[in-house]
Subunit: 391 residues, 2 copies
């Protein structure tokens, strides 16, 4: 069972069920850590067609445990794409009109080079031999993918959470290549509390003896229990207290009284355990360490002499920021700070705070107000960009 | 090292450095689980002297990982008692005036019968052979201790967090024995989100292979890594985002730049790791499971037909509730709900919400407004009880 899972994982890491762009030794990726990653590869999905002017491309950036399978059936879980509700023919992001690109980030585990990928120098998975990957590294790799498509300027870059950090980085370091940007439920830096939750998750993984210092593939094991605990802790932060109360309250799971033991008496316990167990089937533990670290390291103001407005100086990009009232991982104040910086930089920016009790996860859900905001912003930007109004 | 620690722990569990009251087979403890615990013992500390009328006794109830060492040097850590700032000669709770009692709760690990105690039937530690202990069980045991002192009516019962739950239970099921009650930073039931955090902690402990199904003492091991992860996750919930930002922000730990690795780059990481590591030296992992479970199970309204006010019907106890603005584990709304129920029951109640950014942990800190509230309430209650005004 472990062996089968491992084989499938390794295949998805090295030889994924997505198109792959390989960058041979002549085209290394410059990492913020100060080293070069070479060779490396990016796994991606596209939907729709690039128009003749190459002006209708939308880049979607995925979140911590997301991947490139944004609008197609997931090859490991068999579930619909993670933004399938938003992206597709006739949907808000209409793939009859836009060319949508989504790539697995560098450091991920679904086909772009990451810790589960085979290190060509050793023939074994990288494990922790990769340096820490930053959000800027991810974006730098994505820009090489965009070059490959011959796209000078993306019509839009959008994403939530860690995806939103990539959007901000794109709009900052590649502003001339981004017509409009839609960062959702995100921040310009990771807060102390968020770093703390990530650190708990990493310690849970690394405390699992099956982690083997990151070399678990080499001994045919995986730190499943540690990774499940990490996911459980993180999952609480994606929801709101109100949503948990509404969905679960103190309801009991398949029983009519307390058992006076340590089984999952409460529905919330059963739900969390399920979240942990299913996560380890689709995600690599080392990749989880890298993804969390990339968010911890993100601090756009620090990259610009401590002034966030400097990150957006002379930006011609149009921005729309979205936050959710019950998101305590990236509260509205974080978005507001970015809006202030954009205003100070003289950029074009709109901001929508959406009233919902669904917490941080709202950006992945069927949230009508979110869709209305995205739709309105994209339609207006498309007109400004001279794209026809679509069907 | 492990063996030494284990011996010390076992000693503290069976033969603690506190006075112990042993209840022999003729005096069992009725557990809510439906069984009897017998024999059992309570370890306790007292400070000051009981007056001739036996009317000056204050019972302090400890929190999740607290113990009876409320105002004396801790026998394991060597640190001052956990409420040393509040209790002692000439302090707010003046031990020249009051007789202060604090006992380790049933299920604890500092000398009252709990999972680390030797089961006389087997000669081995109970481990998970104890049924789940409830807040009501803890209070039932404490009332037997109070009987032992010949005290009919306590002047005051006070405590924070899990201690506050015990205070509420005392005032509900033993109202005639409680002149005044001071529940701090607590709730009448554990919320879904709080159960979720506890479940993550339990899963972290139980995921550690050194847990050995709870029988780790028998193989001379301890699930230290799992317990440390549990403590780290819990510790985040004791603080506020604002306090974390103020104390740590994104400051680096003993370095001037990021290392691009998985060491503790940030101060918050180093701090959390320290919290985890030091905790396992003083606390038993199984006891942590029992303590968290007792809080999860607490639901005072459910025990009274779903109406919280019924829990306090005809109560003659005077109440003062305290909450903290930045406490997100037991937000003010939880205290307010209790206040409403007390009002509905016609009880005497005052309520203080204290403005602070120190989160849930504020109740353990040198918080002048908290001390002022406790002082004012106790002075007024003491006068009503006919206790002299003290020095």
């Amino acid at each position: 069972m472990v062996a089968v899972t491992r084989r499938r994982k390794l295949n998805e890491a090295d030889d994924p069920s997505s198109p792959v762009l390989r960058f041979e030794p002549g085209k290394p990726l410059n990492l913020d850590a100060g080293t070069l990653l070479s060779p490396f590869q990016l796994a991606y999905q596209t939907y729709g067609e690039l128009n003749a002017a190459r002006s209708n491309a939308i880049l979607v950036c995925h979140a911590l445990t997301g991947d490139q399978h944004v609008a197609n059936t997931h090859p490991v879980t068999g579930k619909p794409g993670w933004w399938d509700v938003l992206i597709g023919p006739g949907k808000i992001i209409d793939t009859r009109r836009f060319f949508v690109i989504c790539s697995n980030v560098i450091g991920g585990c679904l086909g772009s080079t990451g810790p589960a990928s085979t290190n060509p120098a050793t023939g074994k998975p990288y494990g922790l031999d990769l340096p820490v990957i930053t959000i800027r590294d991810m974006v730098r790799a994505q820009s090489m993918l965009i070059d490959h498509f011959g796209i000078d300027r993306l019509f839009c870059v959008l994403g939530g959470s860690m995806g939103g950090m990539q959007v901000l980085e794109w709009a900052s370091s590649h502003s001339e290549r981004v017509f409009c940007a839609l960062p959702i439920a995100t921040g310009a830096r990771h807060s102390s509390q968020n770093i703390a939750f990530h650190e708990v998750g990493r310690q849970a993984v690394m405390a699992d003896p099956e982690w083997h210092g990151g070399k678990y593939f080499e001994v045919g094991r995986r730190p499943e229990k540690g990774l499940a605990v990490a996911r459980m802790a993180a999952h609480i932060t994606y929801l709101s207290e109100a949503a948990l109360h509404r969905k679960f309250g103190r309801n009991l799971q398949d029983r009519d009284r307390l058992t006076f033991g340590f089984d999952a008496d409460f529905q919330i316990e059963s739900y969390l355990r399920h979240q942990g167990i299913t996560f380890v089937d689709r995600f690599d533990a080392n990749s989880y360490l890298y993804m969390t670290r990339s968010m911890d390291y993100f601090d756009l103001a620090a990259d610009h002499g401590g002034r966030l407005a400097e990150a957006f100086r002379n930006s011609q990009t149009r921005f729309c920021l979205v936050s959710f009232t019950s998101d305590w991982l990236f509260p509205t104040s974080e978005s507001r700070e970015i809006v202030h910086a954009l205003n100070a930089a003289g950029a074009s920016v709109s901001f929508v705070e959406i009233e919902t009790d669904r917490g941080h996860d709202a950006f992945l859900l069927d949230e009508p107000e979110l869709f209305a905001a995205i739709n309105g912003f994209l339609r207006s930007a498309a007109r400004a960009r001279g794209l026809d109004d679509g069907p």
